[in-house]
Assembly symmetry: C3
Homo-oligomer: 381 residues x 3
């Protein structure tokens, strides 16, 4: 037994590497993984080359996010419905979570908040719009299960509203200098995590048939063996953490140099980079006329940011970082989140998709990006 | 003939008491009616015990509201469809109306406005959410008539928008010191009552089949004889008026002592107390898988607050109270009303209910309550 | 050949006049065309009679708008599906476009913006509400194709959002004095026109079956010969331009004299006058139980204002007028546009109409009008 175990532990890394290599061949995006050692070396050798570090770190995170997503699904597939669903649900936005934790630790609250808002907006408008457009270019009119879509959209709407309450009452916070907003954000975070827990019971236990199709995300892709999945999960999580720290360290100087606001970087760049893996899945599902899956991923991922990532960041901010973080967003971000969620709700509502609806959603997203790009810095504090 | 009539008039009070006693046995909540004489006596003996008076008055209003609702329905059942429907529609929120009239007379405009806003939000989120949760714990997936629900939800949305127009343009009111807001609120109130009158024609005459199920609210409960119904209606209305006056007289001091803001008291406490009777009906209907009825009560009651109670209060404020009241709400209340109405619209839209949707709606309500609880006083003026 | 051509060119004007006369007999509204020469003469003789000029110009524009609409449709009917659809789509709001161009040239940006906002709100609430009410007074319950209506409503919602982005982030524009807002508005305008162009491809080419019924607008009305259509189109466009210039020249003094704000004139008067022709069509379609058509006209026309008229005005403002115009609206107009679009979305959503829904939409419109009427001037800058 002992020798066998020892043997396994020595073969595992090798076979993990083999698996990774095989994956790399199949999915060309993974070739970007080459940038992971590059960025780590570069940071040691030229820590002041912020702009270069910024771009190389982005290039390195994309394939890591894809691997993370693949590993999570493999582990989930091998651990059975309940644990697997839990893993998929919890680790679905792991990349965003790690990047924002790094930003939190560095005290860059604006970046953290912009990333939260941006992830919700990107999932609601860009992922939805992209899926409708890509699906619609191949299929004349696509139908999807509108009962489920509507149900998930109304959950997303309520989740978004929930995290926006402190912002909606924020103008009132003149008197006791932020104390009210702090308390409210903490109470809210605890409540949201409880609601998220109940949501797991709902989607994994009492009403799992409503969410069934999402589970079969990677049909056709064979899951990795459990041990490889776990090893990849741990190793890649560590790598994402390392690269994220480099990214966050370089972002301020790089953004200044490139003329980008932190709001733009958080809202657009991090959201697109962190969600790249999910988007690939959602878009290829739309192309395969499985729009139910695309809609489920987009709505589910956005809701998870609101109900899980955002409150976790608030609670963690009490332990790391210079001071507790509130859930107060600047008014423009609030408007964008509300509008994006309502757009996703409207688009889910009909149960039909055509390419032009995708164009419209992408146009609204482009307008948001343009706004954030043109916005004078210092405005979004 | 004459003796018979005389006889009837003497037997009526006794039989009314008997009926009340029988009701008390059937519905244990009514036992709280014991607090009605207690609060009246207490107010005479210890007018300065504000906090005690506050709680006892709340305990006394709950059973009175239940009796009022029962009496209204009994009279409605005996007076035929048209008059009965009219009564049900007009007196459905009688408790809220009496409490807010007492607050209006005392010049507590903040409490009045908070009660209006709170009643709309409580009906849209708490009653809806509670019905979905209670129904969903017993039934896996509940369906309801989505055509009717959607129609009523869009009416509620328009009604809410209507009363929010002065608030949405309120930031503009710098120049002529409130005069614009006064005029607008009065014009609006007259228009809303006209719209409400047309709504009666619609729901009781031209399209009564759309609202049919709501009329059979108390199936199984035998209506009281007409005379008893009328007597109870008058007597209990008077009692509610007396207790409301005591409640309003004690609320400011009590709230200060308990650390509650007037906004919290109006928004949450009065809304829950005033709507207790309707909620009981809506929740038991949900349990009995008659979700159509629950949805109809919640949406209809919220719309009635916007189209009838709010404008009546504005118009009455010209005759009682220190000065006319406008329909201008503080921005947080506006956001909450809009969001609650949109949530109710979304939840009605699908035609399906499951317990988690109820949890989400209740969570948003809890977040609103938490916000109002933590809010520093003086902010909601 | 040559003589024949020459002959045709001489007979055309005469037969055009004949056709116009025949139309005048059929549609009594066209008798108002008498005011066109009156207003032109009056402006020469009494250029200072602003209030009189204001009213006569309004009376003159209504029949011109009707003729313009009729001529556009005639030309469209004769030039085949593709070109005709393009014409109908582009010239559908030609009257609004000409009036606002005249206002733009005069530097009356407030009037321009109020007209844009007002056209969207008027199409969404007044045209929708009127169609529901007029249709509902004749038919108990009207059904319409909710898949198409929903799809078009979600496009309208996205289009409205798009033009509102600069306003939603406008509070942020303190620092660089409007420069950000200018740039954003220009970028947005270019993007919107591109989206509008794609929308043509969508509605006229790839998915024309979704919009089919709208094309048969004037069933029963025989189209004019092509040559007459083109001549009328050109002549009437010139007349509208002349009358619009007189109107814009008189509006400021007249509004001051009548106690009307420019916001009221732009939002309500211009929107109703400019849209009179379309409303006539939408209302008579509702009466004929062709609610699909009414809904299509209302939603389509509102979306066209947002996607075509508004961006064209922004771009043209760089060439005419004292300075470039941004797409920033005052907060009240933003709220009204958002609310009106959401109301139209909700009303489309159900697929059912009854008269009371029309009353509610008209009531909200009346409240908006009352607000703008009471609004102190100087507030909407």
């Amino acid at each position: 037994m002992r020798t066998l175990e020892a043997k396994r532990s020595t073969t595992q890394p090798r076979s993990a590497i083999e698996t990774v290599v095989r994956e790399l061949r199949r999915s060309p995006l993974l070739a970007l993984i080459f940038f992971v050692p590059v960025v780590i070396l570069l940071e040691r050798m030229a820590p002041e080359a912020h702009t270069l570090l910024f771009f190389v770190a982005i290039a390195a995170i994309v394939p890591l996010a894809a691997l993370l997503s693949r590993a999570t699904e493999s582990v989930a597939a091998k651990t059975g419905d309940a644990v697997g669903g839990l893993l998929n649900a919890t680790l679905g936005n792991l990349t965003e979570l790690i990047i924002t934790l790094a930003a939190l630790q560095a005290g860059q609250y604006l970046l953290v908040k912009a990333s939260i808002a941006g992830a919700i907006v990107t999932n609601s408008l860009f992922m939805f719009g992209g899926a409708f457009l890509i699906g619609g270019l191949k299929h004349h009119l696509q139908e999807f299960n509108r009962v489920n879509a509507r149900f998930q959209a109304s959950l997303l709407f309520l989740a978004t509203i929930a995290i926006l309450v402190p912002s909606l009452t924020s103008g009132l916070d003149r008197t006791p200098a932020g104390e009210f907003s702090q308390q409210l954000s903490l109470g809210l975070a605890i409540l949201l995590i409880a609601v998220y827990g109940l949501g797991m019971v709902f989607s994994l236990k009492t009403h799992k048939e409503l969410f069934a199709s999402v589970g079969q995300a990677e049909a056709g892709e064979e899951p990795w063996p459990l041990s490889i999945g776990i090893v990849v999960l741990i190793v890649v999580t560590l790598l994402v953490a390392i690269v994220s720290e480099i990214f966050v360290g370089s972002v301020q100087a790089a953004a200044q140099h490139l003329g980008l606001t932190p709001a733009f970087v958080g809202f657009i760049v991090i959201a697109l980079v962190g969600g790249a893996a999910e988007m690939t899945t959602a878009f290829s599902a739309a192309r395969a006329n499985r729009l139910d899956l695309s809609v489920g991923i987009a709505l589910g991922s956005a809701a998870q940011i609101a109900l899980f990532v955002a409150p976790v960041l608030v609670i963690v901010s009490y332990f790391i970082g210079p001071q507790p973080m509130s859930l107060e967003f600047w008014p423009g971000a609030v408007a964008m989140m509300l509008v994006a969620t309502m757009a996703a709700t409207l688009l889910s509502n009909g149960g039909h998709a055509a390419w032009y609806a995708g164009v419209m959603a992408l146009a609204v997203y482009a307008i948001f990006a343009l706004t954030l790009f043109l916005l004078p810095p210092g405005v979004t504090q």
